[in-house]
């Protein structure tokens, strides 16, 4: 089943159509979401009532557009804030982790590495509830001891950030470690021979080398945070990030407004993904 092994024509056609069908299946739901963002109707379904931009720019009810819908705009802002915090935090810790696992030999290293991987195989909702339970135990303990109520430990943005950080850091660590492993240590030694201190050598030689991986990890972390649902669902307080806000609206019944938001999300994340690809290629 490789090109050099001759195959019957009918087999090739059959195989080709299967692959084609697969890509149609992949594209179908996304295309449908995008197309119905422009349907001049109250519902994202047939019949097609004509083309409209109202679900983006409409100013009046019932066809109020994304750019005039305060709830959605606020949720986008919340998501962006959370994602920025999560990506900076997880790339920082990811970088220190990468150096730790790459540069040091110590007892229990293997066990720590496996522990570091675990967040990837814990269901997101379980990560969420365990953090919820622990932070509330902590908050109650502090209340009982000192009668101080720490609001930050109750469901809200801090917990959402910590919850997403808890597993996105693993991904950042893996991305950055992969690049650090390719680094030629002799370059650093050369800098040391030329009189640089260890820290200067790392800052001027190693970190620039790691930069593409760090930026890649930053974008991936941002995207993962932006679209995270399970962990966020358990930790969210009154400020809902976009996925939660959309989910609440979807439960109440959908309008093409949600399609418009989704289309913008698709465009935004494709753009970011493209930036990463171009950046990595350079």
């Amino acid at each position: 089943m490789i090109p050099t092994i001759p195959r019957s024509r009918s087999f090739r056609i059959l195989y080709g159509s299967y692959v084609l069908l697969f890509f149609l299946y992949l594209a179908l739901p996304l295309t449908v979401v995008a197309v119905f963002a422009f349907n001049d109707s109250q519902f994202p379904s047939l019949p097609w009532e004509g083309f409209t931009w109202n679900w983006f720019f409409g100013e009046d009810r019932p066809q109020i557009g994304v750019f005039h819908e305060r709830g959605i705009l606020r949720a986008v802002g919340t998501s962006a804030f959370v994602a920025a915090c999560v990506s900076v935090l997880s790339v920082s810790v990811g970088t220190t982790n990468a150096f730790l696992f790459n540069r040091y030999e110590f007892r229990g290293k293997g066990a720590l590495y496996v522990l570091m991987l675990l967040p990837l195989v814990i269901p997101g909702i379980v990560l969420g509830i365990s953090i919820l339970v622990f932070s509330s135990t902590l908050a109650n303990g502090i209340w009982n001891a000192a009668e101080v109520d720490i609001q930050a430990l109750r469901p809200g943005l801090l917990l959402v950030i910590l919850g997403q950080f808890s597993f996105i850091t693993t991904i950042a660590t893996l991305v950055i470690t992969a690049r650090l492993q390719k680094f030629d240590r002799t370059l650093e030694e050369a800098a040391l021979n030329l009189g640089a201190t260890r820290l200067t050598a790392v800052r001027t030689i190693t970190i620039p080398f790691l930069m593409p991986a760090m930026i890649g990890a930053l974008v991936v972390a941002f995207l993962m945070s932006f679209e995270n649902f399970n962990t966020t669902l358990m930790l969210v307080g009154s400020d809902a990030p976009l996925t939660i806000a959309m989910f609440d609206r979807l439960k109440e019944g959908s309008t093409p407004l949600l399609n418009a938001v989704s289309l913008l999300l698709m465009l935004g994340s494709s753009l970011l993904a493209l930036v990463v690809i171009l950046f990595q290629r350079r």
Partner: protein
Amino acid sequence: MRAEARIGFILLLTPLLLWLGLLIVIPHIDMLMISLRERISFGVYEPSLTQYEKALTEPLYLRTFWRTAVMSVLATGITLLIAFPVSYYIAKMARGRLQQVLFMLCLIPFYVSELVRTFGWMILLRETGLVSNLLQWAGLADQPVEMLYNDAAMMVGLVYTSMLFMVVPLVTTLESLDDSVVEAGYDLGGNGLSVLREIIIPHAMPGIVSGCIVVFMLSLGNYLTPTMLGGKDSLWFTEMIYNQFIVRSNWELGAAFGFMLLVLSSVIVWGMLRLTGRTLQETMG
């Protein structure tokens, strides 16, 4: 120099320990502790196994638990079956630019939020949706057909959501398979089936295992797809956890459910690794 290295080591170790300790290890221990207690009256708790007893004797809980497990395994199997030929095509049959383009096309839905993907399937499958309209137009149905809110719809959603996590590791391992090995298989008198069974699948095994583990995990822990596409009877275990925690504020039972889900996923992941003789480090790292 020794002292400096030591300080560096401590500085690098601290963030890792803080992260894993405060956000992973201690919270899970705390969750276990909460699941092992019973509320006697306001603010008074007693250690007990009541929660697990409830979880294991109440038929609805137990049924949902096993259903979630079985459906997740099923979703993983279907995903593997659909993804394998496609991955093989991308890795071995397509060449040059086409190969890159096809691989990129596979990655795009991965960057789109799961909510959007599920929403797309809702638009397609609902009573007033595209598929229903298409069936009526083709004369196959004389009234709107509701295709949402059943197990099949849920399965379609689960498979779609996790497809990319199967395709990517499969393509990566299949790409490393040397064409000449396959040719040798045919030269030695093998046919398509025996080459597939004795050369291609064994070579792709690492990719199959890591793909299956990730897909299984994602299905088991999925909340959106079963809630949005599944029907009243297709309750998912994550939904029960959410209900106990947020809707009923019964944290003790919710924590027990959470722990059961954790054990279930660990056991199956561990079993899969054991069966194929691989380590978590090789599979995930």
